[in-house]
């Protein structure tokens, strides 16, 4: 094995190909070259202390990424050639992909833009290279997800205009505003928000159990892009943890600033993930684990270990963590109930769970499901069976910060909606929680500018005042194809014909009456 020593070792290679490629400017001041490095109040005394534990250099990066892409596209080809969409567990599953393509994939693109931007703003070479690689990763994720789902677009409705919808549709303003908030912050807050709070603390919940769920539902294309993206994510997570440790080690004045950002971005991420909770508990016909179980493993257990490690820097677990931990037994049900009611204004279908699915939920949520949610769902199922599929035509009140309708309940009283309001410069603002209200109070000048879909409709900025016009003309959701109840939908009929079954006429008529 003596031959091996002829190669540079990993540490030296990283030093030569990363740090040593940088130089000290001579005829321009550093502050002019990196103008955004100071305004957030973060003090960096020595960029040389920055550690990239993977010590990945550009040459190795291209080599491994190329290999990942080759494997990924071989599977996409095989999936398409073999009509892989016919082998999924049930076509209801495809609705999770519609939400993913319009809600998550555009975030990958936003992350690409965000890292490309902040990668320019740091005077440390190690940080710049790590951000550059991550920017390219995120672009790859956005592209591979669109490629994977383009196959489904040939066979199912609702996948035809994801980027357009992301900018306009009411519930998609939730993920969109999350990333816009991060991207319009300073570079250190962006890294704390996305690299640490989102990538390290929370994305496991999006990409690990949900993708394992995709595999369990026969969707090899999605599980493959999911895990291929997540293999980059392991590097991003490591970056996230190193970023935090680096900032905290640089100066004690950084600690309260970072703590405030961790509190803010944990809460924003937790609210955003309500959508994922709903996908896991309601949109995967074959279920791997419940949202509550995933939260326990990936937040309470892994996040707990992480925050214990950060104690030595004077960092405590995020504020309102107790509320989030308690909410694991509620959020997925509350979110699904909301989408079910507003299924006429979504690019995917909704439905009430079947009997065995309700039983599974009762088993997984013994303290909450039977008591608070099952009776409501059984009532809606009965209404639907009698030709009265319920749709709510009143536009909901949105939280000024997370932009989710104020549908969540108080920690100590699940029958009481959680609602906060404050007056700011003569205007009244509404919030879903203390967590979101605190974020507003800290930077009201930012959040008064929020583009709230419901307000925009009422102000006449969405091509019409009635739901139908907004949905059709402004959102580009095809009425009667993309939206409404799943049972009797064109997707449902197509799926039955793929499986060689006839359409249940009764269900179809019930749907028609209600619509």
């Amino acid at each position: 094995m003596a031959v091996k020593n002829k190669k540079l070792n990993l540490k030296d290679k990283y030093q030569y190909l990363t740090r040593d490629m940088s130089w000290e400017p001579t005829y321009q001041k550093k502050e002019d070259i990196y103008p955004e490095e100071r305004f957030e109040g973060i003090k960096i005394t020595d960029w040389a202390q920055w550690e990239d534990p993977f010590r990945l250099t550009m040459d190795a990066y291209w080599k491994y990424q190329a290999e990942k892409e080759k494997k990924l596209y071989a599977i996409f080809d095989a999936f398409a050639q073999n009509n892989g969409h016919q082998n999924i567990s049930d076509a209801r599953y495809v609705n999770a992909l519609k939400l993913f393509l319009s809600g998550v994939s555009p975030l990958e693109h936003a992350a690409f833009q965000g890292y490309a931007k902040v990668g320019r703003q740091f005077s440390g070479a190690g940080a710049r290279v790590a951000c550059q690689m991550q920017a390219i990763d995120e672009l790859r994720h956005s592209q591979t997800q669109q490629h994977a789902m383009s196959h489904y677009n040939k066979h199912f409705n609702g996948l035809h205009d994801a980027a357009h919808m992301h900018d306009r549709v009411w519930f998609l303003s939730v993920p969109k505003s999350f990333f816009d908030d991060a991207r319009s912050a300073g570079p250190f807050e962006f890294l704390t928000a996305i690299s640490f709070s989102f990538e390290y603390v929370l994305t496991n919940l999006l990409f690990v159990p949900f993708m394992s769920g995709a595999a369990y539902n026969g969707d090899m294309a999605t599980v493959t892009f999911g895990f291929s993206a997540q293999s980059d994510e392991a590097r991003h997570m490591t970056l996230g943890l190193e970023v935090i440790k680096f900032i905290l080690e640089q100066h004690e004045d950084n600690v309260p600033i970072v703590q405030k950002w961790i509190d803010k971005w944990f809460w924003r991420g937790f609210r955003l993930l309500s959508l994922v909770g709903m996908m896991m508990d309601y949109m995967l016909p074959n279920r791997v684990m419940s949202w509550a179980e995933a939260w326990e493993v990936y937040y309470e257990q892994n996040g707990g270990a992480l925050f214990k490690d950060l104690e030595r820097y004077g960092i405590r677990p995020p504020k309102y963590q107790d509320i989030a931990n308690d909410a694991k037994n509620h959020v997925s049900h509350q979110a699904w109930a909301t989408f079910y009611q507003y299924g006429h204004a979504t690019n995917f279908h909704t439905w009430m769970p079947e009997k065995e699915e309700l039983d599974w939920l009762s088993e997984k949520y013994p303290d909450t499901f039977d008591k608070y949610y099952r009776p409501r769902f059984e009532h809606w199922a009965k209404e639907h069976a009698e030709g009265r599929r319920f749709y709510n035509n009143t536009l909901p009140q949105l939280c000024q910060v997370c932009q989710i309708p104020t549908i969540f309940t108080e920690k100590d009283d699940p029958t009481m909606l959680s609602h906060r309001q404050i007056e700011h410069e003569g205007e009244r603002y509404h919030f879903c929680s203390d967590g979101c209200c605190d974020i507003f109070k800290d930077e009201p000048e930012k959040y008064v500018q929020a583009w709230l879909p419901v307000h925009q409709i009422y102000q006449g900025n969405c091509e019409g005042g009635d739901v139908e016009t907004v949905v059709q003309k402004y959102y580009h959701i095809n009425i009667g194809e993309d939206n409404f109840e799943y049972i009797g939908s064109p997707d449902h009929k197509r799926w039955l014909s793929i499986k060689g079954k006839s359409t249940d006429e009764k269900a179809e008529n019930a749907n028609k009456d209600a619509a």
Partner: protein, 89 residues
């Protein structure tokens, strides 16, 4: 309080060797099979040794090759030419 580190791999041919090597070098670790993935967790520390992997594979193995099959990790990373270590200090 227990403080677990973890690593998850795609359940494929490469990862089966990785899982074997990890379980040999970290006998106290717990291995979980989930759809399409293998997840390994251990108290405080997990190590992947290049030497063990090379024995399993019967060929040279670069520690960074694990990047292709890894899905997620939890813990501080320390990597050099011979090891990939995850730990909470």
């Amino acid at each position: 309080m227990s403080q677990l580190v973890f690593i998850a791999f795609q359940d494929n041919d490469n990862a089966r060797y990785l899982a074997e090597a990890i379980m040999e070098d970290n006998p106290e670790a717990e291995l979980q099979h989930q759809p399409a993935m293998i997840r390994i967790q251990a108290e405080k520390r997990l190590v992947i040794n290049r030497e063990t992997m090379e024995e399993k594979l019967g060929r040279d193995w670069d520690v960074q090759e694990m990047l292709i099959d890894v899905i997620s990790i939890g813990g501080n990373v320390d990597e050099d030419d011979d090891h990939f270590i995850l730990q909470w200090k």
